[in-house]
């Protein structure tokens, strides 16, 4: 009998603790079929070039998809920009969604470019009610086109603005409420930003509405001295694991993903990080947390 899965967070299926699928691990994943409940991929990496299709990476993703649930995580929605939403991009994303049938779709609460130029970075916004309305209208447009709700992720930031009117967690919560979208809460990003801007990371978690949190992210960061930098190139730090424990107490066994993009370790090492997240969930909740069953 299949294990009974937890109550869905934000109406999403409970999959458990997944890992990011990156090119270095394609072969291992296809040949060894590791026991992992789901994969997250960067949406843009499967869209091909200049309006083409996704080529070899998409072929691989479709093979992976035959055996695993996949989540699409974008980096170029540019939801906070003052440029119009790029309908060509949205149309490509919609095409990819139809093709992959992801468990859910996410991107970042930030801006990535302006005046048609893409900086390929996740830049912070001023936290004001005016910007909340601006972003919420655009999220509604995106959700209309995609025909589904999306999750927006809090980004790591290295600067904030003098004219912000609210805290980051109030801003995130207000955008999610006004746009009626979900939240992908990156615990590492909360820790990095809390350190860089000297606020209390637990207060941040307390301020986010649990009913909208559909996924958590965990990743490594670099201590650059004056500022922490979100690098995704090393194991999750002790402080972030501790904050994750607190997040599980607060939000329950939410779908969690280990993000590792640079200086990638072997697949077994990455899976160890996922196993650690699972153990923390079970330790905090005092019981086993079912993961989506995977035929190995």
């Amino acid at each position: 009998m299949a294990p009974r899965l937890e109550s869905p967070a934000f109406g999403l299926p409970h999959l458990g603790v997944g890992i990011g699928l990156r090119p270095r691990h394609y072969r291992d994943v296809l040949t060894t079929r590791p026991v992992v409940p789901w994969f997250e991929v960067i949406s843009e990496n499967f869209m091909g070039t200049r309006g083409g299709e996704g080529g070899r990476p998409l072929e691989i993703l479709e093979q992976v998809r035959e055996n695993y649930p996949v989540v699409l995580h974008g980096v170029s929605l540019n939801i906070g920009s003052t440029d119009p939403i790029r309908l060509d991009y949205l149309s490509r994303l919609k095409w990819l969604v139809r093709r992959i049938e992801p468990a859910w779709v996410s991107d970042h609460l930030c801006w990535t470019g302006v005046d048609g130029e893409n900086l390929h970075d996740l830049l912070p916004l001023p936290y004001s009610s005016k910007v909340v309305r601006h972003v919420a209208e655009r999220v509604a447009q995106v959700q209309d086109v995609l025909g589904r709700q999306i999750l927006l992720e809090n980004v790591s930031s290295y600067l904030t603005f003098m004219h912000s009117e609210m805290t980051e967690w109030e801003f995130l919560s207000e955008v999610a409420r006004c746009a009626d979208c979900g939240i992908l809460l990156d615990v590492n990003n909360v820790y990095v930003s809390a350190t860089n801007h000297q606020f209390d990371a637990r207060e941040y978690l307390n301020g986010v509405p649990a009913s909208r949190v559909g996924q958590l992210h965990l990743a490594g960061h670099d201590d650059g001295g004056a500022l922490l930098v979100d690098t995704h190139d090393r194991p999750v730090s002790r402080q972030v694991w501790e904050l994750y424990e607190y997040a599980i107490e607060r939000f329950g066994p939410v779908n969690t993903l280990i993000e590792w993009d640079d200086k990638l370790p072997s697949l077994p090492k990455l899976l160890e990080e996922a196993a650690r997240a699972r153990r923390i969930q079970e330790s905090v909740l005092g019981r086993a947390v079912p993961q989506r069953a995977v035929a190995g």
Partner: protein, 284 residues
């Protein structure tokens, strides 16, 4: 949190100023000071007004400039690394310093306008054509062009063509064979194909010789293949790609290659088995 005491700038002004400071090749300090850059000053954008640095919160641990600087540094290296991944041979030949400079100059002239980093190198081979580096590395544009073709082939969808067996014997002459979308045809003035292969195999080859090559790039079930073909073969493939009727393509191929029908048939057999032909269109 209290209401802000400052007059808030428009979001568009704030984003435009941040885009300028983050992408300025001189670096944050020099850009703010209005210093002339190493590159032609005509390339550098003037600072959008009003200056927005005062909107960035400074703390005892990090100044506004240091905070903006994290994004500026991240911008350059992220895009530099994307170019280096798509042009590994160019990067290897130039070495780290010269490749960085080429990338910096390229990004000024060709900033990313696509949501997808895979599009960033679209103009790179043409750009490297105009550089002074060409005197020392005359084969550089050819190498960049080959690497971009490989990149495009990797990211192109494979065709799902109709079966060639459905073509009747009398229809072949007017039929138009469709080349697979992964096929790229290019000519180079320098023999860069074997040079690229040796670089890819991590061995440092001697500079390529000046010798014209007709190259066929395509993707099979696993990865991208690069083959040097004869000029008549290349021309035949190009004509097929352009939609010319098969009969005419074969006539031209026979004339140009002085090849026997048997030999031409063998070429076609090989192209079909390699997946170069993804379909056929019959005349109405």
């Amino acid at each position: 949190m209290d209401a802000p005491s400052l007059n808030a700038p428009s979001l568009a002004d704030l984003q435009r100023w941040l885009r300028w400071i983050i992408t300025d090749p001189r670096g944050v300090d020099a850009a703010l000071a209005g210093q002339a850059g190493e590159v032609d000053a005509g390339w550098i954008e003037s600072e959008p007004k009003p200056r927005q640095l005062g909107m960035v919160v400074a703390t005892p641990t990090a100044s506004s400039v240091a905070r903006v600087g994290i994004y500026a540094s991240g911008y350059f290296w992220r895009l530099h690394d994307a170019l280096a991944a798509d042009f590994p041979g160019v990067r290897e030949i130039l070495g780290a310093g010269r490749f960085q400079r080429l990338a910096a100059e390229y990004l000024i002239k060709h900033p990313s306008r696509s949501p997808n980093l895979a599009d960033l190198g679209f103009s790179f081979s043409r750009f490297s054509l105009d550089r002074e580096l060409r005197e020392e590395f005359p084969f550089l544009p050819d190498l960049a062009s080959l690497e971009w073709s490989i990149h495009l082939s990797l990211l192109a969808p494979r065709g799902r063509g109709s079966a060639l067996t459905s073509v009747g014997a009398g229809d072949w002459s007017s039929a138009r064979l469709r080349l697979d979308p992964t096929v790229r045809l290019l000519t180079t003035e320098w023999a860069v194909a074997s040079f690229w292969r040796r670089i890819f195999a991590k061995s440092r080859p001697a500079a390529p010789q000046r010798r014209r090559q007709w190259l066929l790039v395509y993707r099979d079930d696993v990865w991208v293949q690069v083959k040097a073909v004869t000029r008549p073969q290349w021309s035949a493939l190009l004509r097929l790609q352009q939609g010319c009727p098969l009969g005419w393509v074969c006539e031209q191929l026979a004339a140009e290659s002085r090849g026997s029908h048997l030999r031409i048939r063998e070429w076609f057999r090989r192209w079909i088995s390699s997946g170069l032909i993804s379909g056929v269109e019959l005349a109405a």
